[in-house]
């Protein structure tokens, strides 16, 4: 979201180095491009790959000017790690939606006892009154036999809350993985659907309305 002159959909993706935040952002971007949107996507790399936090700002609309999302203006916050979700919550606008993987990744400053990890980040987020949807993406991915599918699960969990249909996002996802490694296509499709269902979308929604 932004001023009225250049309305955009603003998605903030947050996580830590090595979690695939940038790949997920790229897939969302390609889906938006396929819908004919102008897209800008920004992240600060460099030292981030050394276990630091990673955020990717994705904005799309008819015309996107500035690349970065201002605090208080993200329509959607997609967090791949729960404390990073809490950290980035101020980017969300009033009425925005946060989808958060409940996985915890402890940095050395926490695991060595220098700082403490929040007791219940999800509760802390919910207490602000924000629209927060926790998803145990890592557990769902493990159940499918491949922990690296957690990203796909999380993409599924936001798929029904975009200005375009879930199918468009799935197509962009499969294009990315399917073309190079066809055997991964089916796994990704299942992870994506599991993500949709985890937040009451996809097949879960169809079953409820049937």
């Amino acid at each position: 979201m932004s001023g009225t002159a250049f309305p955009t959909t603003d998605i903030l993706l947050a996580g830590i180095g090595g979690q695939g935040v940038l790949t997920a952002s790229e897939i969302l971007a390609q889906a938006a491009i396929a819908q004919g949107f102008d897209v800008k996507k920004t992240e600060v790399a460099g030292m981030a790959q050394r276990g630091g936090m990673v955020t990717s700002h994705l904005r799309f609309g008819e015309k996107v000017m500035a690349p970065a999302i201002a605090p208080g203006s993200a329509d959607l916050l997609l967090a791949f790690e729960v404390a990073e979700g809490l950290r980035c919550l101020p980017f969300l606008r009033k009425g925005g939606r946060a989808v958060v993987n409940t996985q915890r990744v402890l940095p050395p400053v926490v695991s060595s006892g220098l700082f403490s990890y929040p007791d219940d980040p999800v509760a802390q987020m919910l207490a602000t009154g924000a629209d927060v949807h926790p998803v145990d993406g890592t557990r769902i991915a493990l159940a499918l036999g491949e922990p690296r599918l957690a990203n796909t699960v999380m993409l599924g969990a936001v798929a029904d809350h975009l200005p375009f249909g879930a199918e468009a996002l799935l197509r962009a996802l499969l294009e990315r993985f399917g073309s190079r490694k066809p055997h991964l296509a089916d796994l990704n499709r299942r992870a994506f659907e599991a993500g949709r269902e985890a937040v009451g979308g996809g097949a879960a929604q169809a079953a409820a309305s049937a």
Binding site: S2, G3, A5, F6, I16, E26, A29, Q30, I33, D38, V39, K40, K41, T42, E43, V44, A45, G46, M47, A48, Q49, R50, G51, G52, M53, V64, M65, A66, P67, A68, A70, P71, G72, A83, E84, L86, R87, L89, P90, F91, L92, R93, K94, G96, P107, P108, V109, V110, S111, S112, G113, L114, F115, S116, Y117, P118, Q124, M125, T128, A130
Partner: protein, 623 residues
């Protein structure tokens, strides 16, 4: 090979600024390109190396990369080099004089500024080089502009026979946006033409070139007035007119879509008449620039009244968040800070997540040793992953300023030798690539003057922090092909370090590492300890069998935690009272999924609780 190199003309691709520039450099018919890696510029050359018909290489430093480009330009070829902002400081010696001789084949220097200091030691504004070296500065705002301005820069360079500086910022380099690309126009080198009066800058020749330099700048100033990438974006709200460039101009347009904006494509020389024209149409002029008030001061010097850093921050990115309240204050309006709209939640207190060294990083063992002898040493550090040694848990770095500085600074610290420091040894810590970049000259001074410095040359065979690029010490070129490889032990011997004082040590052999460092800091002459394990993020690293902790054997001493390996974490803590003194015990576990089996921590464990992950429960009870 990939979508970018094979995309046909007119393709619209989602490209980072760096990718867009690489494509444009190739399309422009460039024949020679060189760079030293540096965030946020690194990917330009990395991507360019994937294109055919361009000779690319990782130069040993930015000065050499520019000199290679200058040589190619004089040889009549289009030539390119890229660097981060601080790289220009290194290349400046060549730049400041070559500007007198100028360019023949198009000569473009891409410089990436780190506005907001996400991975740099300062925030210097490279646009100053335009005025300093009397060369044009182009400032794109996004990928499409970066692509177009790169091509224009080559034309400009040839038309005015000048090097051209393409000034980028992180929000150009690392922002992906849609970019329409074109086709390559081959441009064969025209060949070297002897012209000593121009290319041999002895004082008499250089003096003769000054007139050309100044008339060139005058002509460029006229060109700037009509430069096609400088645009007046109209607006009906004449209370404030904006002059802006780069990503800040996009932020201005988004925040104040109704205000007139002169978006500068060329920020040196400035199109003063176009600014004057806008100034005449608005109540007040606000210059929005990242980061120094450079345009602002030039406008004021030209008698054009304007605001700038009187209302805007002196550093960092100028986004919507800072622009809106600043302009409100300028207009005497409510700055909106009390408005109902805003974030859904205030900022929560969350632990920091600083960058760390990797699991099994070969730098962990020297830093473990340094942290153990911390009070006996002054440690001059350098630029690279090992700069992280200043942080938790090692706290084992005292200085860092710039590439290679550890050597000279260590020498200076040893020479100062105050009475209070008499019992301290001076250690310089430097990486392989940084040593070749600008460190070896400093070591030569250490040797030449008999400086009492122990050098830790941490050779992980990669430019690690920027993503594992190759250099003359890796034995590979930019394409991964075999290349001549520097032998560091022979190199430092050739610089004059005595053979007895040169040690190549496997950093995974912690006891040897500790013994060697202790021995060398006690020896009052120059010594060099070279490590020899590769960066864990490059493909020549081969993980070994992981280790685990036998839970009931861990005594909570926390020695292994001082290694700083992210695979080791605390499972529980206990407070023990021994002889009336309280001590916190930390019991640990090793994440065997991430452990690379480097064995550094194994050698810090008193009770022998760290064993190969494959060891059976039976072995547990024997341990």
């Amino acid at each position: 090979m990939n979508a970018l190199t094979e995309a046909p003309a007119s393709s619209r691709l989602l490209l980072s600024g760096n990718e867009a520039i690489a494509r444009a450099v190739w399309e422009a018919g460039t024949i020679v390109a060189a760079a030293y890696p540096g965030t946020p510029s690194t990917e330009i050359l990395e991507v360019l190396a994937g294109f055919p018909d361009v000779d690319t290489h990782w130069a040993v430093n930015e000065k050499v990369s520019l000199e290679v480009a200058i040589g190619a330009s004089i040889g009549g070829a289009r030539a390119f080099c890229a660097m981060k902002h601080v790289g220009v400081n290194v290349a400046a010696d060549a730049l400041m004089s070559q500007t007198l001789a100028g360019a023949r084949g198009g000569l473009v220097i891409a410089v990436a500024d780190d506005v907001g200091l996400s991975s740099s030691q300062n925030e210097q504004d490279s646009r100053f080089w335009g005025r300093f070296a009397h060369i044009p500065v182009l400032e794109p705002a996004d990928s499409q502009e970066a692509y177009e301005m790169t091509k224009l820069a080559f034309e400009l360079s040839e038309e005015f026979e000048t090097p051209v500086l393409l000034r980028l910022t992180t929000r150009v380099c690392h922002v992906k946006a849609l970019c329409e690309v074109g086709a390559r126009t081959p441009r064969p080198a025209t060949g070297f033409e002897s012209d000593p009066g121009r290319w041999v800058l002895v004082p008499a020749n250089a003096r003769n070139r000054l007139g050309t330099l100044f008339s060139r700048e005058t002509a460029l100033a006229a060109h700037s007035e009509t430069f096609e990438m400088t645009q007046l974006l109209p607006g009906a709200d004449s209370r404030v007119g904006f002059v802006a460039s780069g990503p800040a101009a996009l932020a201005v347009r988004e925040t104040f879509p109704d205000a007139p904006l002169l978006k500068l494509g060329m920020t040196h020389p400035l199109p003063l008449e176009r600014v004057r024209e806008l100034a005449g149409q608005v109540e007040r002029l606000l210059v929005v620039e990242e980061v120094e008030p450079l345009v602002e001061q030039e406008l004021k010097a030209a008698g054009i009244a304007c605001h700038g850093k009187d209302v805007l921050p002196r550093s960092g990115e100028l986004s919507y968040v800072v622009l809106r309240p600043a302009v409100a204050r300028l207009l005497g309006e409510d700055d909106g800070s009390g408005a109902a709209e805003g974030p859904v939640a205030p900022a929560a207190q969350v632990f920091p997540r600083p960058p760390t060294m990797c699991v099994g990083c070969p730098h962990l063992s020297p830093y473990y040793v340094l942290s153990k002898i911390r009070k006996q040493v002054i440690i001059a550090g350098d630029i690279g992953c090992y700069t992280l040694g200043f942080g938790h848990p090692w706290n084992a770095l005292d200085t860092t300023i710039c590439m290679g500085s550890s050597m000279g600074m260590a020498l200076g610290l040893s020479k100062a030798a105050a009475e209070a420091d008499k019992d301290k040894a001076v250690v310089g810590v430097i990486g392989d690539s940084t040593f070749l970049h600008m460190g070896m000259q400093g070591l030569l001074d250490i040797v030449y003057t008999g400086g009492n410095v122990t050098v830790l040359l941490l050779d992980n065979r990669a430019v690690g922090m920027t993503g594992g690029q190759d250099h003359p010490g890796t034995g590979r070129d930019i394409h991964g092909a075999e290349a001549p490889q520097v032998d560091f032990a022979k190199l430092v011997a050739a610089l004059g370090v005595r053979p007895e004082r040169i040690h190549v040590v496997d950093p995974y052999e912690l006891p040897t590492m500790a013994k060697t460092i202790r021995q060398e800091i006690a020896t009052p002459e120059p010594s060099v300890i070279i490590t020899n394990q590769p960066c864990v993020l490059i493909d020549r690293f081969k993980p070994r069998e992981p280790f685990r902790v036998i839970d009931d054997q861990c005594n909570g001493c926390s020695n292994c935690l001082r290694v700083g390996c992210p695979a080791i974490s605390v499972t529980r803590t206990e407070t023990e009272t021994r002889r009336g003194r309280e001590r916190e015990l930390k019991f640990v576990t090793i994440d065997t999924v991430f452990c690379t089996g480097c064995t550094i921590c194994v050698k810090t464990c008193g009770p022998g609780a760290i064993v190969p992950a494959g060891a059976s429960a039976k072995e547990d009870s024997r341990a």
